[in-house]
């Protein structure tokens, strides 16, 4: 049995003890101190992740079992730990960004009535995400996968008094549940056939698997990832999930939870990769989602909804990269995206916190450059990193994907460039509208004050990451190599060719230029097209009709349930019993009316009885 380093146990024990301490002691006694043990546990987790990163970077992998969870006869499902390149890469980003967001949340949520409840769920989510990244078999993966979904349900609905928040939480959980249908079924089918779903085993048996089982489980994995990472059919819950507090949006709907889907696809890549048509399908869906979401992001008013659609777009981009076979590029973009998107969300949070309103619309905010200088600086760097400006991290990760797209063919290159331009377009529109000179229609807040230090420092640190992570490309691929099975070739991050980078920068440049012209030069454009084309705006509001389709489907299910539950069950089945009871009563009525009480009738019956018996005798 490989000796499991202490760091791995700390990953689980630190959050568990913090949660237990917080729930049993602090919550009833002193709820406002709940965040203290949790912040400590965040620090411990980050340190142990750093240690594990070094451990893996130095070439060691780890795949051991902690204890037997379910067993039947000779077979059993185990609780295990698998620390390998992929896991640690994403884990380091998640733990670092997560810890910083915890500190930010301590400031942001101060004074909120549900403070301790928020922090307990927030940290439980953090634990679940870490568990998901280090689990070593699908069933354990499914456990943390569902736990993440459940925590997101309670966190989105944190402000329980807001009806929209409650509806969004339910919608988010149900969509995730529909996605988990795919994952559970796939795990069941694989487990039924191979009696073992450890990732290590998966790499060996994937080639030998039956083709139809392979195709089905591959597709079901993608279906689950589509729900969790908001791909085309099941993405509509993410923009609504912005109803939750900003730290929730930052941690969950930017850096960690939504990336779990992509992480699942990367984890089971040997299986999905070997299905003939699936990668192209994933690439197509990814590209479509990315372009569609970018388009929708340009038309949104609320700051956080723009960032939500931007996340959907970038997840589409990662799926697009995966579809092209660039697993390393997708992972690299996942890590980089985690940094700059978290930074953008936290800046949006500072803007909202500063102006005292839960959410800020693009129309209201304007010219905040002067009143929020620090937030403006961080926002600008993170935005430029997202757009893909040269020295920043976004450029390196997006360029790697563009490079792969160019090799694949003209359609892929066109899609890649379109995504690059769309990304630059909506993020610079948001930058110009919010921070540059107040325009005529905008009503800037009375006086917007800068966020306190505890909220600015985490954003700054994350922006440093968004700034510098790009340069670690080489180290990143070296980290991925350990623990990846030799049998399946892991394409290394492609070297950046000047031609492709040039094209990418050009696309980004013209995107920024277009948004500069539309927002600064034609200040009233953003409002005019809404007034002149209300129909167009309505179309954009309901995601080009997709939300209506989903609403219709939900209504069909509910009406069907009502017809079965109330009508069929009550009127048909129950009524059958009641009718048989009434039949007995009627029969009894006729029976007792036979006894008329007159002697001659009873004698008549006596004789007919005797005659009947005689007839029976005659018959025989």
């Amino acid at each position: 049995m490989i000796q499991i380093p202490l760091a791995v146990y700390l990953l689980f024990l630190a959050p568990l003890t913090a949660l237990a301490f917080g729930f049993f002691i602090l919550r009833p006694w002193k709820p406002e101190w709940t965040h203290i043990p949790i912040l400590i546990s965040c620090v411990v987790v980050t340190i142990s992740t750093a240690f594990l990163a070094a451990f893996v970077y130095s070439g060691h992998g780890l795949d051991g079992t902690l204890f037997r969870w379910m067993m039947a006869g000779d077979w059993s499902i185990v609780f295990g730990v698998r620390v390998d390149g992929i896991g640690v890469a994403v884990l380091s980003m998640v733990s670092l960004v997560g810890a910083l967001i915890h500190f930010y949340a301590a400031g942001y949520m101060k004074g909120d009535p549900g403070f301790s409840r928020f922090f307990l769920f927030f940290h439980l989510f953090y634990l679940a995400m870490i568990g998901l990244l280090v689990s070593n078999n699908y069933v354990q993966f499914y456990l943390f996968w569902e736990l993440v979904g459940a925590c997101s349900y309670f966190l989105i609905a944190h402000w329980l008094h807001k009806p929209t928040a409650r509806r969004a939480a339910l919608q988010a959980f149900m969509t995730n549940r529909v996605g988990d249908f795919g994952l559970m079924l796939a795990v069941l089918l694989i487990l039924a056939r191979y009696h073992n779903t450890r990732f290590a085993m998966l790499y060996t048996i994937a080639p030998g698997m039956a083709p139809e089982l392979l195709a089905l489980s591959g597709f079901l994995f993608f279906w689950a990832a589509a729900a969790k990472s908001a791909q085309f059919p099941l993405y509509f819950w993410l923009p609504d999930a912005m109803e939750g507090p900003t730290p929730v949006s930052a941690l969950m709907h930017a850096a960690t939870m939504v990336t779990a889907g992509i992480f699942l696809l990367v984890r089971s890549w040997p299986l999905i990769g070997s299905v003939p048509g699936l990668p192209n399908f994933i690439a197509a869906v990814g590209a479509a989602t990315a372009i569609g979401a970018a388009l929708l992001a340009c038309t949104q008013k609320d700051l956080k909804r723009i960032l939500a659609y931007s996340t959907v777009s970038h997840l589409g981009l990662m799926a697009f990269a995966l579809g092209l076979g660039q697993v390393a590029a997708a992972l690299f973009h996942l890590v980089v995206h985690g940094f700059f998107k978290a930074a953008l969300f936290l800046c949006a949070g500072n803007v909202a916190h500063g102006s005292g309103k839960p959410t800020v619309s693009v129309d209201e905010a304007g010219g905040l450059k002067r009143s929020l200088p620090l937030t403006y600086a961080c926002f600008a760097i993170a935005a430029m990193s997202l757009a893909g400006v040269w020295p920043l991290a976004g450029f390196y990760s997006k360029d790697a994907i563009l490079d792969a797209a160019c090799e694949r063919g003209p359609w892929a290159m066109a899609a890649g460039l379109a995504i690059a331009m769309g990304g630059a377009l909506y993020i610079s529109r948001m930058l110009f509208l919010t921070f540059f000179g107040p325009r005529a229609e905008q009503k800037p807040g009375e006086h917007v004050h800068e966020a306190p230090l505890i909220m600015i420092l985490p954003v700054a640190l994350i922006v440093v990451g968004a700034f510098s992570v790009g340069w670690l490309g080489r180290h990143f691929t070296h980290l991925l190599l350990s623990g990846w099975p030799e049998t399946v070739p892991l394409p290394v991050l492609p070297e950046l060719s000047a031609k492709v980078s040039g094209m990418g920068l050009a696309a980004m440049g013209c995107g920024v230029a277009i948004s500069y012209v539309l927002t600064m030069r034609l200040p009233s454009f953003d409002w005019d097209w809404r007034r002149r084309h209300p129909g167009l705006e309505a179309a954009f509001a309901c995601d080009l009709g997709w939300r209506k389709v989903v609403a219709w489907f939900a209504a069909v299910v509910v009406r069907g349930a009502d017809r079965i539950g109330r009508v069929f069950d009550h009127e048909v089945l129950d009524a059958a019993i009641e009718k048989s009871a009434d039949a007995c009563q009627k029969l009894s009525q006729t029976g007792s009316s036979l006894a008329t009480g007159s002697l001659s009738d009873s004698l008549w019956w006596l004789m007919t009885g005797a005659a009947a018996l005689l007839a029976w005798a005659g018959l025989r």
Binding site: S588, Q589, S602, W605, L606, A610, G618
Partner: protein
């Protein structure tokens, strides 16, 4: 071994004791000097003496010309005498006639038990029935006379039919013995006699006299009718068994169970409800006899018949005597008894559950044995119908329990403790113990 009669006739010793007892009762009554209590005691003593005599006579002795007896007949005689005891203990006769009539009726039943040929059977039948008509006439309820007249005419018509059957049988076989005959005349005669037996038992098309008689007579008398007379009718049927077709009996049984249970659902008067429920139980007894006949009169099947009647003896006596002790006659009066009289309500609940055939009770063991024999005899469809009949009968048994416990009632608190309450409790406990018999 007490020898009253010479060896071949010792079978009749219990009947002889009863006859002497009846005469003494009449004589004591005529002398006007003996108190009614003493007369009842004399009647009771003679029944007990008959029981003792029964225990000691070797029933397997050689059977003289007119008589024949077997284990079934012997056991049933025990039943008849046990059925008579509670009646004699509880009846409040105006004069000495009713106790004598009871003794005479039990004597008639005894004769059926030991009869070897048709004539003796007819004598026993009439000896049993005639006192019964008069007993009904002497009951205290306002419609007693009407019940008695109906009972008389129906009973005598049945007797006449039996005679016609006997004549046909005699013409066909030349003898009054019980051997089945094959030629059509004999079969026709046999079926007429079977009709009489079914009439006495209360099988459905011929049952219309039963509810009126049970409603008209006093509860303790109805108890005697439902246990004693019904057992005699079953024995009468078993005597005619060689002549009867099992399948016809099984279908009649299923019809009786279902009809009795259904009609009882809506009865308002409790005695009439219990009358229809006793018709339903008669159906089960008929099913048991049919199964017994279908299996070539195997002794094990006869155990099922006897056990059903023994269990029914306790259940029915207990229920009817409960009506007497609580003075309840309409179903509305049952409401709220659960709280008003907890102990007696509990006793009745046990008895009703036993009548319904819910497992821990004797009723279930009896029904279970009948079901088992019927299945072994291959009577599948009547068995299913009997099961459904049991379900329907559960409807009103539970309905009574529901009225007692779940409704708020108007009945005053417990009335003066009645001597019969001990008998009711004894019956309730007996019906639990008998139920656990297979495992005790």
């Amino acid at each position: 071994m007490i020898w009253l009669l010479r060896p071949p006739l010792e079978l009749l010793q219990p009947q002889a004791v009863l006859a002497v007892g009846a005469l003494c009762v009449l004589a004591a009554g005529a002398s006007r000097r003996v108190g009614l209590g003493l007369i009842k005691a004399m009647a009771g003593a003679s029944v007990l003496a008959a029981l003792l005599m029964l225990m000691t006579t070797p029933f397997w002795a050689a059977s003289p010309p007119l008589l024949s007896s077997d284990i079934l007949g012997w056991a049933f005689q025990g039943l008849f005498l046990c059925a008579a005891l509670p009646l004699l203990y509880l009846m409040k006769p105006a004069d000495e006639i009713p106790p004598a009539l009871v003794l005479a009726s039990v004597l008639g039943m005894g004769l059926i038990a030991v009869s070897g040929n048709l004539l003796m059977l007819f004598i026993g039948l009439e000896m049993m029935s005639l006192p019964a008509y008069l007993l009904v006439a002497r009951s205290r309820s306002p419609q007693a006379l009407e019940g008695a007249v109906k009972y008389f005419f129906a009973g005598s018509a049945a007797g006449a039919i039996f005679l016609m059957g006997m004549a046909l049988h005699f013409a066909a076989t030349g003898a009054l013995s019980l051997e089945p005959s094959t030629d059509p005349l004999g079969i026709a005669g046999a079926f007429l006699m079977i009709a009489t037996a079914l009439f006495k038992l209360g099988a459905v098309p011929l049952h219309f006299w039963l509810p009126d008689v049970y409603e008209a007579s006093d509860p303790e008398l109805t108890a005697f009718f439902s246990t004693g007379l019904k057992a005699a009718a079953v024995l009468f049927l078993t005597r005619l068994a060689p002549l009867a077709p099992p399948w016809a009996m099984a279908w009649a049984a299923a019809l009786t169970i279902l009809f009795g249970a259904l009609v009882a659902l809506r009865q308002k008067n409790l005695q009439r409800l219990l009358a229809y429920s006793s018709i339903s139980h008669a159906g089960f007894m008929l099913l048991a006899v049919a199964a017994w006949m279908a299996q070539g009169r195997s002794p094990r099947a006869s155990l099922a018949v006897f056990f059903y009647l023994a269990a029914y003896l306790f259940m029915s006596t207990g229920t009817f005597l409960w009506l007497k002790t609580e003075g309840v006659s309409e179903r509305e009066e049952m409401r709220g008894l659960g709280k008003a009289r907890p102990l007696s309500a509990a006793a009745l609940a046990v008895l009703l559950l036993s009548l319904a055939g819910i497992p821990p009770t004797a009723g279930f063991a009896a029904k279970f044995l009948v079901f088992w024999e019927a299945f072994k005899a291959g009577l599948y469809v009547p068995l299913i119908l009997a099961g459904l009949g049991a379900l329907v009968s559960l409807g009103y048994y539970l309905g009574l329990i529901r009225d007692m416990y779940f409704e708020e009632g108007t009945k005053p608190l417990a009335s003066a403790p009645h001597p019969a309450r001990a008998v009711v409790l004894a019956c309730a406990i007996a019906s639990i113990l008998l139920g656990l018999m297979p495992w005790l």
